[in-house]
């Protein structure tokens, strides 16, 4: 099946006329914009623990979300039934905010562009690969992790795959569909030695199928990485507490950008002036070595999209250019209200949720420093290469993120591993502290899920090795 709207539409069993009538019913003169978002989503998960693939789950769901916006207001309703009657009830509910009787003229949906590109072409057969193949892969992961070191006492692994078909029809007369595959493999190892138990994790994926993990036996590398981190943490010492220079490794530590500045640059918070970045467009918010983009157009990436959930093609948006704040991430509602460009970042978790401006893949461009020199430049500090989650308070700009693999740097040398420590800083200040950027830009392995207003969407991050001159490290060793 190609990623075109006709195939998608056939799946929903809804006719053009029904769509145009429902749009007409909701798009009255006081409504600025309306859309119908149809979604079919099938997901499957198999998981292994104690050497047994003991759980398999599958979920199938479909439905439609109907939305109307008028000024700053949004009316929204959704239904898991797709009959004309259900569409109309949802349309009437969404229109409530407009205080108006139902529209009677259907809205012609004539602009049906083919996708300009397909960032994640796939073969349905790969996504519907037999559960047994996934079971085989998980069993091999268990064996590999235990072989890595006898101190590995338990291995947990899960393979999740999702196949989503979406179709959006808008009152602008646009109709576009996409098929969005998504897979993720996650491995967790627990190591034990003399009563000391430690955990290590590794995961990855993207808009890809099982073959991605099978190529070059990548899944075994996942097993070894998780085992390595768990074993390493057996010898970790207490993390230091206080302000110090921190070197972040490439890839997933880019979660710093996501938390520290990415959320603060989402247009909704800036329109409402509730972000610590409100009114800073054109101002210096980072050191000159920092250029940061959000790019939804990278092939096969977890955060990538052919089109966003409003039918806008995804794009590459420069957020910060050589330290200067250049742009916000937008959806249709906020771009219209703020009079700024549409960036293709209107995303929703499912038909059950409203569109919000969200990040796709957010990363810092490579700089000129040699990563080795960056480490060498630090007399006493922390080198953090892997992280758990992060969180930000948009309004005061304070963010945290927690290291899962980190080392002390002493006299320019990486020395002992340290236990997980939380780093805390202030979004509008932290990037001014970046003094060196490595030439080794790396994107993460494809594990990120971003939460906002209770909605989760897959995202990517990326970072070269960077040096932050001062940040508070929240260890226990004062």
């Amino acid at each position: 099946m190609s990623n075109d709207e006709s195939g998608a539409l056939a799946r929903f069993g809804v006719t053009d006329r029904e769509i145009e009538q429902a749009l007409g019913r909701v798009k009255v003169s006081t409504v600025d914009y309306a859309d119908l978002y149809f979604e079919y989503c099938q997901s499957e998960s198999v998981s292994m623990e104690e050497g047994i693939v003991k759980r398999a789950t599958k979920s199938v769901g479909q439905g439609v979300g109907v939305r109307a916006t008028a000024g700053e207001k949004t009316g929204f309703a959704y239904s898991d039934e797709l009959t004309p009657k259900d569409l109309n009830i949802a349309a009437d509910t969404a229109r409530y905010i407009a205080n108006s009787a139902q529209g009677t003229a259907p809205v012609p949906v004539t602009h049906r562009p083919a996708l300009a590109r397909n960032l994640y072409p796939h073969d349905r057969a790969d996504i519907e690969v037999a559960t047994r193949d996934r079971v085989t892969l998980l069993n091999a992961i268990d064996a590999e992790a235990r072989r890595y070191d006898p101190r590995i006492k338990n291995v947990m692994a899960a393979y999740n795959t999702e196949y989503k078909v979406m179709l959006v029809a808008t009152s602008d007369g646009l109709m576009v569909g996409d098929i969005q595959p998504l897979s993720r493999l996650q491995v967790t190892c627990i190591a034990e030695e003399n009563g000391n138990r430690q955990v290590g994790t590794f995961g990855g994926g993207g808009r890809i199928g099982l073959e991605y993990f099978q190529n070059d036996q990548r899944y075994l590398q996942f097993a070894r990485e998780a085992a390595r981190e768990a074993i390493l943490n057996l010898s970790a010492v207490d993390a230091p507490a206080g302000v110090m220079p921190v070197v972040l490794g490439g890839g997933w530590p880019g979660i710093l950008l996501h938390e520290a500045i990415g959320h603060g640059l989402e247009a909704d918070f800036n329109r409402k002036k509730t972000s610590a970045f409100s009114n800073l467009l054109g101002k210096k918010v980072a050191s000159e070595v920092c250029t940061i983009v959000d790019d939804g157009t990278l092939p096969f990436r977890r955060g990538s999209l052919n089109v966003d959930d409003e039918g806008t093609p995804s794009s590459r948006t420069v957020l910060i250019e050589r330290g200067i704040l250049r742009g916000y991430i937008t959806d249709k509602l906020n771009a219209r209200l703020m009079g700024i460009p549409l960036t293709g970042n209107g995303r929703r978790e499912s038909y059950q949720s409203v569109v919000l401006p969200r990040m796709t893949n957010t990363f810092m461009l490579a700089g000129e420093s040699d990563p080795k020199d960056i480490i060498k430049s630090v007399k006493k500090g922390l080198y953090a290469v892997s992280f758990g989650g992060g969180q930000v308070d948009i309004t005061n700009g304070k963010f945290v993120f927690s290291a899962s693999e980190a080392y002390l740097i002493e006299d320019g040398q990486i020395t002992k591993p340290v236990k997980g420590a939380t780093l805390i800083g202030s979004g509008p200040d932290i990037l001014k502290q970046v003094s060196m950027v490595g030439h080794d830009l790396k994107l993460d392995e494809g594990i990120g899920t971003c939460g906002k207003e209770g909605q989760s969407v897959p995202v990517g991050v990326g970072l070269p090795t960077i040096r932050i001159d001062e940040i508070t490290v929240g260890g226990t060793k004062a």
């Binding site: 499957e44 198999v46 623990e49 693939v53 003991k54 759980r55 398999a56 789950t57 599958k58 979920s59 199938v60 769901g61 479909q62 439905g63 700053e72 207001k73 949004t74 009316g75 929204f76 309703a77 259900d86 009830i89 409530y96 037999a130 559960t131 006492k153 338990n154 947990m156 627990i190 138990r197 430690q198 955990v199 993390a239 507490a241 206080g242 409402k272 509730t274 610590a276 059950q352 409203v354 989650g389 992060g390 969180q391 930000v392 308070d393 309004t395 005061n396 700009g397 304070k398 945290v400 927690s402 236990k419 997980g420 420590a421 939380t422 805390i424 508070t472 929240g474 260890g475 004062a478």
Partner: protein, 452 residues
């Protein structure tokens, strides 16, 4: 949006699925059906911002083929789809490996009494009524202090739902519940910047929801007091957790007591059953039948009766949180704590989980600290459940001579949960349920604070 389906129809669908699964060769199975409706109103700066209305339904099927099992869920209840759905679920079960511990609970263990638990209030709010409540809460927040200059808005939600659980041992149970909530999140500003906080009320009975005026005023009180927050120096000091954040310490305890974390070796409380994990004035209950409770239900996700049980009794760890599977792995009976998402196999989770109040007022707890930290907000995920290592971003107030001296932010507090529970020094008298997990004010003897 979906036409209302009678409870009996859902029971019939459930029975039909059990019969079909048996026909496909399943040796046992259970079905959970849930439906619900929600009306959510968000207002901002005195006008409607977002209105969401929905009615949804979903069913989950779990099948066993001997000791192999799989679970699946769907929102498509049409006859043809369900036949295909049962077939696919059965095929999935046959693809996994045998797990000797798997299975339904034994017949005879299932809930047989279904007392009135006051978890369903049939009040139907009109859209305009909810808009009015949210607007009033936001207006009250603005009126309470002139430094409130902006708002992330007010929200009023109402929802009701039904759960039906049936299994091949003949258990059939159902219950309905409801929830009403009201919240507001004002933003205060001064020359130094902006601060945001929020306050909320949530209740199963509409009549018991706090007034919008009270919620608005409290939100503003919590917000403006954060203005002018600064960092403090790295140090080791006593830390007081206000009831909201003290609840998070109990959430972590729940995670560590989950049978699944324990048998996987992923909890820092392995092997601690019967041991002293906190001082003898600490007692913690889980009560699945607390009338009107947000975690209350007559039976758990496997159909076993819920109950009130001591989890920590005078500081001694009295019980884990178990369902049938995780209990068997640990050689213990289920504690009636099976949590269930539709279409998933059960996990183990708390119902209404709370710390019994102490005898010291929150004011006296504050007065007992010469220099220390009073925490009101925690952010981040810096908790390692395997080791108990704890490091989170915090904000709150610096305590000087028993009084809140000034607001602080951009600091972390760190320690190890095992030691933190052991270091509980005082428990407040101020227990209020605003969720399924509740705690009074708690004072810990000492933690590491990282700041400037």
């Amino acid at each position: 949006m979906t036409r209302v389906i009678a409870e009996q129809d859902y029971t019939n669908i459930a029975q039909d699925l059990l019969a079909r699964a048996a026909k496909h060769g399943a040796t046992a199975s259970d079905v959970m059906v849930a439906d619900g409706e929600t009306l959510s109103v968000q207002v901002r700066m005195g006008a409607v911002d977002r209105l969401t209305k929905a009615r949804e339904k979903r069913l989950g099927l779990r099948v066993f083929f001997g000791q192999r099992s799989a679970s699946a869920s769907t929102s498509d209840f049409s006859r043809d789809s369900l036949e295909r759905f049962v077939g696919e679920t059965c095929a999935l079960a046959q693809a996994v490996v045998e797990d000797p511990v798997s299975g339904l609970p034994e017949p005879g263990q299932f809930a047989t009494d279904f007392p009135e638990l006051n978890i369903h209030d049939s009040t139907k709010l009109q859209t305009d009524q909810q808009i009015d409540l949210a607007l009033r809460a936001e207006r009250a927040a603005f009126a309470a202090d002139s430094r409130i200059t902006n708002s992330e808005g007010g929200e009023c939600d109402s929802s009701s739902g039904r759960i039906i659980l049936a299994n091949s041992h003949g258990f059939v149970g159902h219950y309905a519940n409801s929830s009403f909530s009201l919240s507001v999140s004002p933003i205060a500003s001064d020359a130094a910047g902006m601060q945001r906080d929020y306050w909320y009320g949530v209740n199963r009975a509409f009549a018991k929801l706090e007034s919008p005026e009270a919620i608005g005023r409290e939100a503003t009180r919590r917000t403006v007091r954060k203005l002018g927050a600064r960092k403090v120096s790295t140090c080791r000091v006593p830390v007081i957790f206000d009831p909201e954040v003290a609840g998070s310490l109990l959430s972590h305890l729940c995670s560590a007591l989950s049978g699944y974390a324990l048998y996987k070796g992923a909890s820092f409380l392995i092997g601690q059953l019967g041991q002293q994990i906190a001082p003898d004035f600490v007692t913690i209950y889980d009560d699945g039948r607390m009338p009107g409770g947000l975690g209350t239900r007559p039976f758990d996700g496997e159909g076993l009766p819920t109950r009130k049980q001591a989890m920590v009794e005078r500081g001694r760890l009295a019980s884990y949180i178990l369902d049938t599977y995780s209990g068997k792995k640990l050689g213990l009976p289920s504690t009636g704590n099976a949590a269930r998402s539709i279409g998933e196999s059960p996990s183990a989770g708390p119902t209404n989980f709370y710390m019994v109040p102490g005898t010291t007022s929150p004011e006296d707890i504050l007065a007992s600290v010469k220099q220390g930290l009073y925490v009101t907000d925690l952010i981040g995920f810096g908790i390692n459940m395997v080791t108990g290592d704890y490091s989170r971003g915090a904000s709150g107030f610096w305590i000087e001579n028993g009084e809140l001296a000034y607001p602080v932010e951009e600091i972390t507090i760190a320690g190890n949960l095992k030691q933190m529970y052991a270091n509980i020094e005082t428990i407040g008298t101020d227990l209020v349920f605003r969720g399924r997990i509740a705690s009074p004010t708690v004072k810990l003897a000492e933690m590491t604070l990282a700041g400037s």
